[in-house]
């Protein structure tokens, strides 16, 4: 496959043609925050809205997971406009996420914590108000627990379950603020079509799906 040359934060990067800026940057050791991206996924989901970059010659910031690299492209990952969008998106997610890290199984391995560390953000919703959910935790499955209150709706588990494992046990349900990840028909996980592959647990960026 042919390669293209670009710069990301002024660092020369050589990436495969067709690759997205996000993966080119991560491969080059430049961190761009992301929750929903999966490399194998042909059409990116693009729901978390964290992976912003600015590209020279392009008016508006763009999501790096949906923008392919191009020869001669000049990408910046920490401009004021990028930082503003990343912060807003992050604080909105935190406004809907219980920050109870000490008691969370994902403590120190959580992507939200990582973003906070990289960007020196607090794990606080900033000017926004806290909008916590009080949904029942599903621990009916022998292998893992689903806590919808912590879910950031990145959709990785749904994609894996449906498109890779073809178990089709998980999906989105409801709309707007009520959107959740659930099983078909809303059955408890233990009674669903789950084949217990546990792939969903391995891709969850936060503590919404954790092993038992």
């Amino acid at each position: 496959m042919s390669k293209v040359n670009l710069t990301i934060d002024d660092v020369p990067v050589n990436a495969a043609e067709g690759e997205s800026i996000l993966w080119a940057a991560l491969d080059a050791g430049i961190y761009i925050p992301n929750l929903c991206a999966i490399r194998e996924r042909k059409s990116p989901f693009a729901s978390c809205r964290l992976c912003w970059v600015e590209i020279e010659g392009v008016d508006l910031p763009a999501t790096s997971c949906t923008t392919p690299v191009k020869e001669g492209m000049k990408v910046q990952t920490r401009t004021p406009r990028v930082l503003r969008l990343v912060r807003t998106s992050f604080e909105l997610l935190i406004s809907h996420h219980p920050v109870d890290c000490a008691r969370c199984a994902k403590n120190k391995k959580c992507e939200l914590q990582r973003i906070a560390r990289e960007f020196k953000f607090k794990l606080k919703p900033g000017k926004f108000r806290k909008l916590l959910r009080e949904l029942p935790v599903d621990s009916s499955h022998p292998c893992f627990i689903l806590d919808p209150n912590k879910c950031v709706l990145c959709g990785r588990c749904v994609w894996l379950c449906n498109e890779v494992q073809r178990a089709c046990a998980l999906d989105f349900a409801f709309r707007g603020l009520n959107t959740v990840i659930t099983t078909s028909g809303g059955k408890p996980l233990g009674e669903s079509d789950c084949s217990a592959c546990r792939e969903c647990v391995s891709v969850c960026p936060v503590g919404a799906l954790i092993p038992k």
């Binding site: 693009a46 809205r49 912003w52 989105f172 709309r175």
Partner: protein, 642 residues
């Protein structure tokens, strides 16, 4: 004309001459003909009761007449509407035809010779004796092109469409090459009527040139925007204009199948469309080898998933594929990779209907209407505080002032104009100072609004701008698909802030936060639902900031709307002592009779429903709203607390 084109024309000429003979018979009737508008809007106004009254009166008087159901003329304010053609008279049109009016028209006009001038809107043809409807302001300023057949022809009779110029665009297209058809649409300057105004010819060209095996056409009639009903009216009143445009589109992009995606809540549109598809197939205008041209095209009707977001093109495609109606990032655009990954040409149904006109009349005639950048006409659903509500069609470039005051007849009850919300819940609110804005894609966007779906709500001094912004955001927030962070959570944060301001709990920093967050949601959302959701808030802050400040600083709602910031008060010197109307109307028994029999409101019991205002006879007009609540004059305590 080449050899292969001869059968196309010949086949169509046979159909057309038959259709025209039938239409002529209607124009010069031997017996009276009664047209009644029975689209959804007519029915809502009681058209079916009117119909029953007509039938009964005809039977009673033993009068012979033919009844024809037609669609909607767009004059909602005058529904139910009935047109009567009696031999020897020009066809005349009546408005507000209640069953009583219907009976008397039948009895006096058809049974006698009195055309009942008191109920008449006007004649539909020039004539020496009866003034025509075209002299009415609504008709005078309008320019009917997309709506030309609505309310005039029977939507269930394909021949009536054909007799009025229908399917001539298709016949023309089939004699051209697909590239020539695309060139003609490009030359017309037509831009998509689904909201964003993308050039239709360019979209068709992109789709035609895209790599793929199977191409597909999709007609978007999801129309989930509250208060918008132009697509419904066209489907109910003139379905063939859409079908014809879709076949032309199919021919141009090289598709052999198409879907019309109709909102689930439109049962009558679905029924009439289904009927129309059947008729078009029956006479060979749809299906295999259309008019012996060798071109095959099949159309299927799909019912929507009852979600606003399913009108967004990528979500709509997901919905047809049987998936959750959730938008996906663009590019790729559907024209390149849409339904099942194949090139898909998706247009609004009005865009398709426009292409039938463009092909039959020629691109030049179409391009002569409108402005340099926005060609043709715009259809709006005019609602809110305006005299002549309904569907209006005007050339692009008409100013908002003309639209609201000339076509719409201005603001009722002598109230003052305050703002107009254009483009539905994702549009913007424009003030008096923007009334000279011409309606075209660029001007509206620049003013902070957008063409959008064509919803247009007029607001007067009794509308609170903060409450209006809250109302529209409540809709988009609920309809967010929940996929992306900005739209799912950002709109909810904004809504909470607005609700606080409406309750008098806001702070001045909240205004800045609304603006900042609104800008971020516009920049950061995945699809146009989120990208446009902050528009009503951003425009009301831009043009009516002082109203936000009044709510926050003075706890005052200038329009006296926000419940928490107003109190009801009975003016003692206006109260007619022996009248008890307000007492009886109050659901919580908050109104009591005080000293000298003057009525007083017990504020601790009042739920601010406003029943007492409505109940107080207009000649006394004693109940008023007061804001801020701290301005309430002291009043006597209720007897149980005295």
């Amino acid at each position: 004309m080449t050899k292969s084109q001869i059968p196309i024309v010949k086949n169509f000429e046979m159909i057309r001459s038959q259709a025209e003979r039938e239409w002529q018979a209607l124009k010069i009737p031997e017996e009276p003909i009664i047209w009644i508008g029975t689209a959804t809007c007519g029915r809502a106004a009681g058209a079916l009761n009117t119909l029953q009254a007509i039938e009964e009166e005809l039977a009673k008087g033993n009068i012979k007449a033919k009844i024809i159901h037609v669609g909607c003329m767009g004059h909602c304010y005058a529904e139910p509407m009935v047109t009567v053609a009696k031999p020897g008279y020009p066809p005349v049109c009546y408005g507000h035809v209640t069953p009583g009016v219907a009976s008397s028209v039948i009895k006096n006009f058809l049974g006698g010779d009195d055309p009942c001038f008191e109920f008449l809107l006007g004649a539909l043809e020039e004539n020496p004796s009866i003034p025509t409807v075209f002299e009415l302001p609504r008709f005078k300023h309008e320019f009917r092109s997309l709506l030309r057949n609505c309310g005039y022809i029977n939507p269930e009779d394909i021949h009536q469409y054909i007799a009025n110029g229908g399917y001539r665009g298709l016949v023309k297209a089939l004699q051209l090459s697909p590239e020539q058809v695309i060139a003609e649409v490009k030359r017309s300057g037509l831009r998509g009527r689904g909201g964003a105004g993308f050039p239709t010819g360019r979209k068709w060209e992109l789709c035609r040139k895209a790599k793929g095996n199977i191409r597909c056409i999709v007609g978007n009639a999801d129309e989930g925007d509250p208060g918008a009903f132009m697509d419904r009216a066209i489907l109910e009143s003139d379905p063939h204009s859409v079908i014809e445009g879709m076949i032309i589109g199919g021919f141009a992009v090289g598709a052999h199948e198409g879907y019309i995606y109709v909102r689930a809540e439109y049962p009558l549109a679905v029924k009439r469309l289904r009927h129309a598809l059947g008729q078009a197939e029956e006479i060979g205008l749809l299906g295999n080898n259309i008019l012996s041209s060798g071109f095959d095209f099949h159309l299927e009707l799909m019912q929507g998933a009852s979600a606003f977001v399913c009108g967004e093109e990528t979500a709509l495609i997901a919905s047809i594929e049987g998936k959750r109606g959730m938008p996906t990032p663009r590019p790729p655009y559907p024209a390149i990779s849409g339904l099942f990954g194949q090139p898909t040409c998706i247009n609004n149904v009005k865009s398709f209907a426009s292409t039938s006109l463009i092909l039959s009349q020629g691109a030049k005639l179409y391009a002569d209407i409108g402005t340099k950048e926005s060609k043709g006409t715009a259809v709006f659903a005019l609602a809110g505080k305006v005299v002549n509500t309904g569907l209006v069609e005007v050339p692009m470039g008409t100013t908002l002032r003309e639209l609201i005051f000339d076509v719409g007849g201005g603001i009722p009850k002598k109230r003052g104009f305050k703002a107009v919300q254009i483009g539905g819940p994702s549009g913007g609110c424009l003030p008096e100072s923007k009334l000279n804005t011409p309606v075209d894609f660029a001007s509206l966007t620049e003013a902070g609004a957008m063409m959008g779906s064509g919803g247009m709500v007029v607001l007067d001094e009794d509308n609170c701008m903060v409450d209006t912004a809250r109302y529209f955001l409540e809709f988009t927030q609920k309809e967010s698909c929940g996929k992306c962070t900005f739209c799912r959570l950002g709109t909810k944060q904004m809504l909470d802030i607005l609700e606080d301001i409406c309750r008098g709990n806001g702070s001045l920093e909240d205004i800045d936060l609304l603006v900042e967050l609104g800008e971020d949601i516009k920049a950061g959302s995945l699809c146009n639902l989120g990208k446009t959701a902050p528009n009503p808030i951003l425009t009301t802050i831009r043009y009516f900031r002082e109203e936000y400040e009044a709510h926050i600083i003075e706890k005052r709602c200038p329009a006296l709307v926000c419940k928490e910031l107003i109190a009801y008060y009975i003016l003692p010197d206006k109260c007619e002592r022996s009248c008890d109307a307000c007492v009886g109307s109050c659901p919580t028994e908050a109104v009591f009779t005080g000293k000298k029999r003057i009525k007083v409101i017990d504020q601790s019991k009042c739920v601010k429903c406003g029943s007492c205002v409505d109940a107080c006879p207009p000649q006394y007009d004693a109940v008023v709203r007061i804001s801020p609540v701290s301005q309430l004059p002291p009043s006597e305590p209720p007897p149980d607390k005295a």
